[in-house]
């Protein structure tokens, strides 16, 4: 029998999957707030749980993109494998330094990239 919880997970999963497939991101930006809001998860448990889901979502999206011929396998691995080391370094550093200034600088960079995309400045 389909429980209310399963239906809620299906709704969250479908939204996250659409988002992930459409924009090339993991979908955590959709899943984490919805797990918190709709299923009462804590922020940390929601984030960790979303990582397990992202592994499956990204694998499916990659396979479909591959079929469309959009995938650059070499570049993806050359970015993804060192990124694991990067995330470990970043996570270690995070409690030791103030990330406030870095967050603001990075937010500004993202706004510049967004403006470039929106107004085709490049």
């Amino acid at each position: 029998m389909l429980t209310r919880r399963t239906l809620t997970l299906a709704a969250i999963g479908t939204l996250a999957g659409l988002f992930s497939g459409l924009f090339g991101v993991g979908g955590g930006v959709v899943m984490v707030p919805l797990l918190v809001l709709w299923l009462g998860f804590g922020e940390r448990l929601a984030t960790g749980t979303s990582l397990a889901a992202i592994t499956i979502i990204a694998a499916v999206a990659v396979a479909v993109h591959g079929a469309y011929g959009n995938l650059h396998v070499g570049e993806g691995l050359l970015v993804g494998v060192p990124a694991v080391a990067g995330v470990l370094i970043g996570t270690e550093l995070q409690p030791r330094i103030s990330t406030k200034a870095i967050s603001l600088v990075f937010a500004a960079l993202l706004v510049i990239v967004a403006a470039d995309l929106l107004f085709e400045l490049g």
Partner: protein, 130 residues
């Protein structure tokens, strides 16, 4: 080749440091530094996300932060959406995809600013989210 490795390392450090998703960083880095088109960058970003999410899930599980059953169920229930999302990404005009992605990273930027301002109160942040 060196550029790709540096992009991965740098985006990973920032993702871990700020608790933002790898994808929001991989896609623009792949278009700007490797010259990939928006759709190719998205596809390639998704491949790069897999090892990051895998190791992240494994590490967070050791900290008791993963409800594995729910996570796997969520992933399986997301398959139809993911397939549809990729199909839509391939069907919409390039401009549409770029505008949608721009709005997404504006949202990420807004969250970063809010988080930076909240962090002055000593609030702890969640781990990296690809």
């Amino acid at each position: 080749m060196i550029e790709a490795i540096l992009i991965g390392l740098a985006a990973g450090v920032v993702a871990g440091l700020l608790g933002v998703g790898g994808g929001a960083l991989f896609v623009p880095a792949l278009t700007i530094f490797l010259g990939l088109s928006q759709i190719d960058a998205e596809a390639t970003s998704l491949l790069a996300i897999i090892p990051v999410a895998l190791v992240g899930a494994w590490r967070q599980r050791a900290h008791g932060n993963v409800d594995l059953r729910t996570g796997l169920l969520l992933g399986v229930l997301a398959i139809a959406g993911a397939v549809a999302g990729v199909a839509v990404a391939n069907a919409v005009p390039r401009r549409g995809l770029e505008i949608g992605f721009a709005l997404l990273i504006l949202f990420v930027a807004w969250r970063l600013v809010r988080q930076a301002l909240a962090s002055s109160t000593g609030e702890s942040r969640a781990p990296a989210r690809p």
